[in-house]
């Protein structure tokens, strides 16, 4: 008896499971993106209502994993439109020939600095600066000067204070490595590797990923390191999620010239997509003011459209570097693997 009832219950449970994919009637656009993609419900809904398209979201790990998987599936794409490949990995994606060129009418408003691909295979959507963050309270209590230059970090004053991420596994880690390469170069008397050697001598801690650094080692979360590689948007977000709420910043960004690296995130229509038209509409949507203004509070990055209004929180607490490190897609693509390997050999092994 008990047996029968149990099996019946299991059977009913199986039937009650929510309808599995494949039931929708609307025209579908599949968005392939990384795990950090986010958007307001209302904004997405209004797009869907306006166009009659239904967006299906497929999340594929971090930006690096996303890029690799997109390249692997070049012949038979996972979806219609991809978002989330940034300038540090873009070269790999372009080489993989995964995009269908598209020029959105809204691209006009975007500053030329973000338009990195003359063939218009990808469309810039947002940017964010990877900067050093520091714990304001710690710096105040210890009467420490905020560093203004990367070289400062090798001085005695900042001994054992900096935690960074492994550039091989972490996107901000890679961005920071690129910033040091842009600053110190790869040849000459004092290369980026010499700089890193000095950082190591000065007690830099390298950890696997952003979470381990920010929540494991940063003083704000109870760790021992008051300087961490994070984003220029982290200070406002820190305020946003402060607990209990605060009205002044807890952290600041180091924005001295060349200390930050600017990541630009792109969207693109995937070659061989089922719904190219829908994919293009979605890219237009991502450049629309509505979406652009939604970006800061959902993904904690900045919109590429200068006309999009920033939320007050970002205006008040975010410091934007005037001169972040510069490097072209081609430069990055030519050097990336080699730099990571050289760095790994020099710093980790």
């Amino acid at each position: 008896m008990i047996m029968k009832r149990l099996f019946l219950a299991l059977f009913v449970f199986t039937l009650c499971l929510p309808a599995l994919p494949g039931a929708a009637q609307e025209e579908i656009v599949t968005l392939v993106t990384h795990d950090s993609f986010n958007i307001s419900e209302d904004v997405l809904k209004s797009f869907e209502e306006e166009t009659g398209l239904k967006i299906e979201i497929l999340q594929l790990g971090d930006a690096g994993t996303l890029t690799n998987q997109a390249v692997l599936s070049a012949n038979n794409p996972l979806g219609d439109v991809i978002f989330g490949i940034d300038n540090t990995f873009l070269g790999r994606a372009l080489a993989g020939d995964i995009f269908e060129p598209y020029v959105s009418p809204l691209l006009e408003d975007v500053p030329d600095a973000f338009k990195v691909d003359p063939e218009n295979r990808v469309t810039p959507i947002d940017y964010g600066d990877v900067c050093l963050n520091y714990d304001l309270r710690y710096f105040e209590e210890n009467e420490l000067e905020v560093p203004t230059h990367l070289q400062d970090l090798t001085s005695e004053a900042y001994k054992n204070l900096l935690v960074v991420q492994n550039p091989a596994t972490s996107s901000p880690g890679l961005a920071f490595l690129l910033a040091t390469i842009a600053e110190f170069g790869t040849d000459g008397d004092y290369t980026y590797l010499d700089y890193w050697q000095d950082l190591v001598d000065n007690g830099v801690l390298v950890v696997e990923d952003w979470s381990s650094a920010y929540y494991g080692e940063f003083t704000l979360a109870g760790g021992d390191y008051p300087l961490v590689v994070s984003y220029a948007s982290s200070p406002p977000v820190e305020v946003l999620f402060a607990d209990p709420p605060v009205d002044e910043a807890l952290t600041g960004s180091v924005i001295g010239d060349g200390t930050c690296f600017r990541q630009i995130e792109f969207a693109g229509v995937l070659k061989g997509a089922n719904n190219i038209n829908g994919a293009q509409k979605f890219i237009d949507f991502m450049l629309s003011k509505e979406f652009q203004e939604d970006i800061p509070l959902q993904m904690f990055v900045f919109p590429v459209n200068p006309n999009a209004e920033l939320p007050e929180l970002f205006v008040e607490y975010a410091q934007i570097p005037d001169n972040p490190a510069q490097m072209t897609i081609e430069e990055i693509d030519a050097g990336r693997e080699q730099w990571i390997q050289a760095w790994t050999e020099a710093v980790l092994r």
């Binding site: 998987q69 996972l78 596994t169 696997e208 982290s234 999620f241 904690f300």
Partner: protein, 562 residues
């Protein structure tokens, strides 16, 4: 239709059924893995050995392989050393809260490494209470424990994660071992120690080696623990594979390393499965109820207490530290606000997911994974328990999914499961399938020792009494292996709830599970996010504990206690 023909059809149907797990492996493991390896190592149809040559020419890789192997061996040894005495206690004594403790001990299996890391640091870090206490007691200037980013903490975390695997597999086998044989040895003049060494241990070896093999596999392919807790000084082969395939996108090197990892483990598994086959003897299995009793003498009570204390320090202290932190994070003392915040969605984002929805998603996956892996795993165990050359050869093969690099397999999925009828890349089912690949070997290893220990005469006796093949299975064999199936089911459920590596490289529709929600919170700055990540981890533990208890109940309701 005449009877003998019906019987023949049934026999073929039965054989076909036994082959389904193999088919599952072929389609969802060997085909994707083979394709990606071919894609990486022989892009133009010709095998290119350059990557292998390069790997073997560099001492770094040899050192990595060596480190991977010995740290896994050492972790396995330590885990078994601690879990084995506890398995004795759990098999032989009845005490209040036993099944709850067993459920709690399994919880670490599901916890994300980053979360565990914070608990470990809180307990054992330089500024921890323990170090403070040691400094005070021994009047030290410096904190005596330096566990952060050390080999010790890797070992400790491996024990923490794998303790329950060893405990459950060994104690479930032990609890069915007949007391009579030990008594016979005692009568022949063997002291307690001699009985253990000459009789109990040899008879337990099948379960001990099964547990050892699983723990070894988990530690051999360890990734998060090594990198996040151990620090970047340490690298296993799996770490190298991630590095080559994700960071450098050097597929030939990654592929070659994957092949080396697979072959190394395959060789070890061949040795292990052959050993186990020789060791397993048909036994008189006894009801676990009959074997377990209350501890009577003081020595027994002390032994029980000692084991429970070790277990508490090892497993429960970090768990409690986590729970404590989820209620006291920030400066305000005790608070439940992180749990309350989980319900809110102040920014109305599509990613926000109510805990209930995440729990539902997780349970849904776990439900399918448990069903799939118990069915496939038990069938596989039957296939492997046959005494044919074929199953002897297959035995190590069924362990391989544990040895395959998650990222390699994930890439394999991307390039192979993209066409009908296997157009699964972006389907709902890809996640349960990926989980089942990891969970199935656990079920196989749990069930196989018990299955081999059943005396053939028992089934024959039932057959003579007129029981059909089905009745024999349902009435005789199933009750005898039900404890092990429950153990396997618990692992399958746990693997799915904890989102093991295999699934983090497959595409997933927007159906966030509890671990994904935890990772999302941990990906953003702000104490509230951190607090909610901890709260969600506590919820994950609670859901898992409830799941274990349910599996235990279900097991008893369906089959009865054995």
């Amino acid at each position: 239709m005449d009877r003998s023909r019906t019987a023949l059809i049934w026999r073929y149907a039965g054989r076909g059924l036994l082959l389904t797990p193999l088919l599952f492996l072929l389609v969802f493991f060997f085909y994707p893995l083979g394709s990606i390896l071919q894609f990486s190592l022989a892009p133009d149809g010709k095998l290119d050995f350059a990557a292998f040559q390069q790997i073997f020419s560099r001492p770094y890789y040899r050192e990595t392989l060596w480190f991977t192997t010995w740290q896994a061996a050492l972790s396995t040894l330590l885990t078994l050393g601690l879990a084995f005495p506890a398995a004795h206690v759990f098999a032989k004594y009845q005490f209040p809260g036993k099944s709850l403790l067993l459920a709690l001990a399994t919880i670490p299996f599901v916890l994300p490494t980053v979360v565990v890391a914070t608990a470990f640091i809180a307990l054992l870090g330089e500024d921890s209470a323990l170090n403070g206490l040691l400094m005070k007691v021994f009047k030290l200037e410096e904190p005596p424990l330096h566990l952060e980013r050390s080999l010790k903490i890797i070992l400790l975390a491996h024990i923490f994660y794998n303790y329950a695997v060893a405990l459950r597999i060994i104690s479930s086998f032990w609890s069915n071992q007949s007391q009579r044989i030990q008594e016979a040895a005692q009568m022949l003049g063997a002291s307690r120690w001699m009985v253990f060494y000459r009789i109990t241990l040899p008879l337990l070896l099948p379960a001990v080696t099964a547990a050892a093999a699983l723990v070894f596999m988990f530690c051999f392919t360890s990734f998060g623990v090594v990198r996040i807790l151990g620090g970047l000084k340490y690298a296993t082969l799996e770490v190298e594979i991630h590095y080559q395939s994700l960071s450098l996108f050097d597929l030939p090197t990654a592929g070659a390393l994957s092949v080396i990892q697979l072959m190394t483990t395959l060789v070890m598994m061949i040795v292990y499965t052959n050993l186990q086959r020789q060791m397993t003897q048909p036994l008189n299995l006894q009801s676990s109820r009959q074997v377990a009793r209350k501890p009577r003498r003081w020595a027994e009570k002390g032994w029980l207490a000692l084991n429970l204390i070790v277990m508490s320090l090892l497993i429960f202290a970090p768990i409690l530290a986590l729970i404590e932190r989820s209620f006291t994070l920030g400066d305000g003392g005790f608070t439940t606000r992180y749990y309350e915040q989980l319900q809110e969605n102040p920014h109305r984002s599509i990613r926000a997911v109510a805990p209930v929805a995440a729990i539902q998603n997780s349970l849904e996956y776990a439900f399918f994974v448990t069903i799939f892996s118990v069915l496939l795993g038990t069938l596989a165990a039957y296939l492997l328990s046959q005494k044919t050359r074929f199953s002897r050869w297959l035995d190590p093969v069924f362990m391989l999914p544990l040895a395959a690099s998650a990222v390699t397999l994930g890439f394999g999925f991307i390039i192979t499961l993209d066409e009908p009828p296997l157009n699964l890349r972006s389907s709902y089912w890809i996640v349960p399938i990926a989980h089942t690949l990891v969970a199935m070997p656990l079920v196989v290893r749990s069930v196989l020792p018990s299955l081999r220990a059943i005396k053939p005469s028992i089934g024959e006796a039932a057959a003579v009494l007129g029981a059909s093949r089905w009745q024999r299975w349902r009435r005789i064999e199933l009750p005898l292996i039900t404890r092990s199936i429950a153990v396997g089911a618990t692992f399958a459920f746990t693997v799915s709830m904890g989102e093991f590596g295999a699934s983090s490289f497959v595409a997933r529709p927007n159906q966030p599970t509890i671990p994904i929600v935890i990772f999302r919170f941990l990906g953003q700055p702000g104490l509230a996010n951190y607090g909610q990540a901890l709260a969600m981890s506590v919820i994950l533990m609670a859901v898992c504990a409830a799941g274990f208890v349910l599996i235990e109940r279900l097991n008893r309701a369906v089959i009865g206690e054995f």
